[in-house]
Amino acid sequence: MNRSVIEIENLSFAYEDQPVLEKVNLAVEEKDFLAIIGPNGGGKSTLLKLILGLLPIQQGSIKVLGEPPKKSLDKIGYVPQNTNINTDFPIKVIEVVLIGHVGSKRPLFGYSKDEIACAMGALAQVGMEQFAHGKIGSLSGGQRQRVMIARALCAHPRILILDEPTASIDVKGQKEIYDLLKVLNEHITVIVVSHDISVILEYANKVAHVNKQLSFHDISDKKSIFHTHGNNEHFCEIELLQMLGAENCNTCDHESNAVWRESK
């Protein structure tokens, strides 16, 4: 039995009077590959920010590895949504990765040898070590995304959270990113927010659909049932929607399941 790394109970959140999340429950187990899907403005990013402790909890509770979010920051690696900001910024790839180190045990000036070695190791993990001394702005979107993953890995996280990791990357780059995540998933829990349902579901074993409420699906045993099309190994989207919306889906909570179908 795997133990839960993230436990969310009865979580509600509102921006001023606008409710964004209502009574959300979620349990993420160790080495899960969880996909969080849902419409724009449905609360996906808000949920992430709450897990990361960037927003205060209003109602309900979140436990990350048994602790409140702010206390377990060093256990979470985070890759933010937009990595194309600040591309003019004069910063080397290695320096971006070094930002990932947590504040403690640091030298008086600059970076220690251990930190640099660790950052190089993280870059090697994502296959970007040869770019270490290049300028971040000179990389492609996919390469930059890898660097951001390396930055998140720098602190040796137990959970890796990515917000729309492939939003601005071409199809080939997307597959490479997901293949990389799959390898990383052998050791750490991965949570990905994505619009790209058909791709993400090939890699994920759990799906959470967020649109104010959250409906949760364990698809690890279902993947083999559905056949794939052509060489792309994509799921047929109709089958997917049937699967996620099916009334006889025994892993789904029926009440929230109804909401999922209404929201389509």
Partner: protein, 266 residues
Amino acid sequence: MIEALQFSFIQHALIAGILVSLAAGIIGSLIVVNRMVFLAGGIAHTSYGGIGLAIFFGLPIFLGASLFAIGAALLIAALTLKKRHRMDTFIGLIWAVGMAIGVIFVDLTPGYNVDLMSYLFGSILAVSTQDLYFMSALLIVILFVVVFWYRDILAVSYDSEYAQLRGINVRFFYTLILILSALTVVIAIKVVGLILVIAMLTIPVYIAEKLSHSLFSMMFLSGLIATFFTLMGLWFSYTYNLTSGASIILVSAASLGIFLLLYRGK
């Protein structure tokens, strides 16, 4: 030019020019990468309020301007962290109110006929020894802060949300950068004046940004480029009997034009 070097006011002008250029290069880099150029402009103009108050109460100009500029920086920092989307409105407001306070207090000062132009466009030939001490002290503080907290400042500047996640006190460093900007603006007023200070904080930085691979090299290079422009501008100003601040800015702008032409050719 060589014979002019024996005058102490020319020596002071050169030393002040170098000190201010180095400070402006370093802080200008931070202002540009943090997209705070408009904020710095606001602080520069607001600090005239401090100049007016200092004249009225008979305090040293640097002291009045510095305190007032720091006050403006803290106010802007507090507002930015709360109402980011209305920043432009607030800065515009603070900008105008600060200048108005300055003008009114100069009016109220009995028998004092202040030369507003010298604050708007600089008066580098009137730098005192005391001014030089103040400038040197500020440059040392800036160097200390930038070297000691380089990685935090880099993290906050590059990606403040991520820096916060890594446990860095983003508010503290944001406010620190604004306060150092305010103080740099105050010393730069002496050299180029508060209207032109923004050009001094941005033109060398813009060139250095294109040539740099790291924030550190950008700050270093900006400082050198700013120093070069200041010395060139002073030479022009002396040779052709032109206003020094405006000469420095036009030399910078012309050099930027040439640089962009050459750089595009590559």
